[in-house]
Amino acid sequence: MKDGDNVNDGDQNGVNPTPHLDQLEDGPWPSFVTGLKRLRDTQGAQYAPMMNDLLGQLNHSYENRRGYWKGGTLSVLGYGGGIIPRFSEVSEQFPESKEFHTLRVMPPAGNHYTTDLLRQLCDIWERHGSGLIAFHGQSGDIMFQGCTSENAQIAFDELNEIGFDLGGAGPALRTAMSCVGHARCEQSCFDGVKAHRGIINRLLDEMHRPSMPYKFKFKFSGCGNDCVNAIHRADFAVIGTWRDDIKINQEKVKEHIAEKGRKYTIDTVVSMCPTRAISLHDDDTMEIDNKSCVRCMHCINVMTKALSPGDDRGASIMIGGKRSLKVGDLMGTMIKPFIKLETEEDFEALEDFAEEVMEFFADNALEHERIGECIDRIGVPAFLEAMDIPADPNMVNHPRTSSYVRTDDFDEESAKYFERKAEEAGMMVGDD
């Protein structure tokens, strides 16, 4: 990745020395420093002076082990969020990178690009920004890093003209993420692109004009492998799953065992099933107790040809994931064990539910409180009641262990449960 000698080094006035950063150019991994220097050394480029001072400031940070950026307020016409303003605290020393703002831009769902599209993005950022782009930030945005206050609007306009929109920042709906999904994965249990675009584009106003108690994130993973880390990181996680049986191709099971060995298959598949739902017959065929299976994906991950998710596919919805601030880490917890996601109506119902949850959040969360904290404060049952969702054993690891609860309407609640069960049974009969 090293581009040979840097033409500007030493022999031209005004190039900031970067002795600390220079040490990050060797080694086999691609070097971000070499990239920054390439921008600095592009003769005549509008961003070269900015990148020279940016490198100077970064080296200054390495030297003093301090950051030197402060925030501020900046947006484009019509929007209240989506730009991360950065003003240098050491602009007297490094004036050209005095303003170094980031545009958060939503990528195509699933992060698909053509090389032509990437080149268009580069061209725009070369004209109006620093030439530095991150694919992607931790929220899932394309991070166009480094432009002046004046150029933020110009760069946005050009990005917007080719079909891109700003992402979220501040107390607002944030940019979402979805896995590769149906485009290239046999484990994908619902159309993540459709769910992702349906929800975000319907609620877009909440992204562009921040007015929520705090941030709100959606993430979409096609199966329990959760490649976009939705359960940990999303307020609203949609995780693909299925209700019927895992599909087994017994011939492929035998081939797998012939290739990998019986002991290895027992050790890595049968013994690792979290609910002991798998057994291997003496003739090397496999049996799965699907009533015990929790759709964890492990056996399907190992035996990609022999096993696959069932046909009755959809998703689980888990709500409330977030990191430490301020009550401690929370994972999303199961709120809807299964929703079907096949028809237009199914997706519309998901969007409706997403909107209801956002409304609940807007109405009930305290300032700077995430929905997970809000639900903890009022208790999951109160949230379920507000959302009109019946309690389900899949929502808990086990029923409560504390007796401190008022149960005088227990019989009414039980009656509702049995009524619901009867309805479900009736529907199942009706379906047949």
Binding site: R38, P107, H112, C185, H208, K326
Partner: protein, 360 residues
Amino acid sequence: MNEMKAKPRMPDEVGVPDPAPFMHPLSIKNYGTWDYHDRSRPGVLRHVSKSGDELFTVRAGTQRQMDVYTIRKLCDIGDNYADGYVRFTTRSNIEYMVADETKVEPLIAELNANGFPVGGTGASVSMISHTQGWLHCDIPGTDASGVVKGLMDMLHSEFIKEEMPNRVRITTSCCQINCGGQGDIAVNVQYTKPPKINHDLVANVCERPAVVARCPVAAIRPAMVDGKPSLEIDEKKCVCCGACYPPCPPMQINGDDSTKIAIWVGGKHSNARSKPTFHKLVVANLPNNAPHWPEVNAVVLKIVKAYKKDAKHWERMGEWIERIGWNRFFEMTELAFTKHHIDTWTGARKTMNQSAHVHF
């Protein structure tokens, strides 16, 4: 120009772009009808559709913070050696999709020739998901890009091979907010001293009630200092989390020597086998030793080596430790277990051993 100013352009609120125009034609054709996948070598995936179509993916590591020249180089490679369709993974690896298997080897050769390592699939150490750091963040304690460069240089051979027991997902974060996320190994800033307050600035810069409310241990209270309205900290209560610093920059949490690095293990996003888990503290107080962070690298290497040697196939880091026990883990990695490893936060008791199960 004047006309433009007279008629300002309002945004076209297009939202999330439709990816279909940018997907490989085989992705469009076989959307939702893939059958299975396998890997002929590290860094290469073969997905086979129910129609019989095959789509090959070649995955390569990038530095995430990319200059336009690097991106265009990746595009040139995509045009000359692949089909012009790419995507980025959650961990900033680039993926090239090709329909023709004969393109795979030349594509790998060209990526390697240009310094992009091919790998990151299956039981490898994939690219580290990380944060912005000194390059762009307003509250960073370190520079994630630099930490990551050192770690990935060191772990390069584990990126291009699949010789770990299961996948290893590392994250780094430049403050305790932990934007880098959960990981099998997490390298995160850990502050060790209460913030130093610049009382001249607090009244003008900070919304004091909001800052008081932000503190998770109620250690901040309004105070008059030298006749100016400011804030003061009960340093005995303070847990040095840095939560007050973003809403109130005059409460500087970072210090040359007091900003340290902690390493955590056993975070897991996937639901495969065990339920998702959070990472757990292994060692704190490592120096923030830019530009190479050798003390951090040494600990990470010890952990990676112990896991590689001892874990069973398909056991993730946390599952391996669950089996062997924490005392064995600390022995194998030659790290200390201290009172600081015992949780004191909300729900701490649920993290204790509430049984007579003991490892010897």
